[in-house]
Symmetry: C2
Subunit: 240 residues, 2 copies
């Protein structure tokens, strides 16, 4: 559960809910997808729900960082590009995750919808104004950054020192832990290319590694996007 989402749903922040479709939609959507019962109308009060279609750009690298975003449904990829088109996906954002949160006035990444997704867009200035006289919110925003840092640092180890097998294993375990669906099973929202660009590999290597894990009976692949973790121990072993 994202700390900022928690902060935004504290009693202190509850405002009279906006009437109308938008507010209602946010509230229901959030409850539907996370099962939390906390009031979330505040999100509607602070931001606007927007829908993005598959592969559409949410913001561009170097664009003014006027908003931060909270994922309600779907998945978002946050990435950097090199001049010649090489791409590194820094992170995937799932429901409850926040992205686009910067200290700098401009985004240092682009963000794109992995699949059809809904996000809440909150004005940076509004959050900042609130954080200025609310230590708890400020702390939540800091914790948000710290959490992102922690994940990024873990990923550094993955990209710097792990083999393809280990990378894929780490990725699968991570996705399984984050998407709270059926235990031992994940439905990947992203393509092989996205996975490759996240793990610093090629699409072919990702594919081969997955089939290798399947041959070794560590996972099963009922379909290309669905992964059954048959031998979690083996996966964790690869995770070092």
């Amino acid at each position: 559960m994202s700390t900022i989402a928690a902060a935004l749903t504290q009693k202190a922040y509850v405002q009279p809910p906006l009437s109308g479709a938008v507010a209602g939609r946010v509230s229901r959507a959030w409850q539907d997808e996370t099962g939390t019962r906390q009031p979330t109308d505040i999100l509607a009060g602070l931001g606007v729900v927007t829908t993005f279609s598959r592969n559409s750009e949410i913001f561009a690298e170097d664009a003014p960082a006027d908003h931060i975003f909270l994922v309600l449904s779907g998945a978002v990829r946050v990435c950097k590009l090199l001049g010649d088109g090489r791409r590194q996906i820094e992170t995937f954002c799932l429901p409850g995750d926040v992205f686009g949160w910067e200290t700098a006035p401009r985004h240092r990444f682009s963000a794109e919808a992995v699949n059809e997704c809904r996000v809440v867009r909150v004005k940076r200035s509004i959050l900042f104004a609130r954080a200025a006289d609310d230590a708890e919110l400020a702390h939540a925003l800091w914790a948000l950054t710290a959490g992102e840092l922690s994940r990024t640092q873990n990923h550094l180890l993955v990209l710097g020192r792990k083999t393809a097998q280990e990378r894929v294993a780490t990725f699968l375990l991570d996705m399984a832990a984050r998407s709270a669906g059926t235990a031992g099973e994940v439905t990947l929202p992203m393509s092989r290319q996205d996975i490759a660009d996240y793990l610093g590999l090629t699409i072919e290597t990702v594919s081969r590694t997955l089939t290798h894990l399947e041959d070794a009976a560590v996972i099963a692949l009922p379909s290309s996007r669905r992964v059954v973790l048959k031998d979690g121990g083996a996966l964790r072993g690869l995770n070092s």
Copy 2:
């Protein structure tokens, strides 16, 4: 210049300086190495100066994160280890840099002295207490985390998608920018092994890449630790 160092030297934080050798040493040391003229006695009031010898451990991975550290002189490496000994250096800390700053109660890295170095050790609890009723300090601490995140994210792109040459070029440019010595020249405080573990390469590849850059007249290597950037344009070209 580290934001936290700045925050700690704001007028609001200036206390009557402690008398005695320690306080004096901090103040002079900091001024010597950074050239800043801002009062820094507050650091002595908050922390203790400690010296670490080459390769000694400052704190271990998973140790209680009771302190944060500010580098006064020398260099520190912050790293993670894999079970079989593979090592990833997350970052090098130079004078003015802060390390060991965590949200979690335990360090997620180890920190070691790259060479003889002096650091100020500040109790976490003291900083936290101060930050609780000081929005400006709290903001500085957040900015610190955000800056670290930004650097880590850039490094992710390096490890995920850049070639050995590009990694080394990026590293040299970064070190040159950070160590404010003679323009176009860097003295590297760390060994080839350290560089390799930072860039996700082997010691041999780092060495070969450097000699290759030297053959191409992009750099000169008067000694193994001294690097002259002869063709910054070429290096920046490799930086994409």
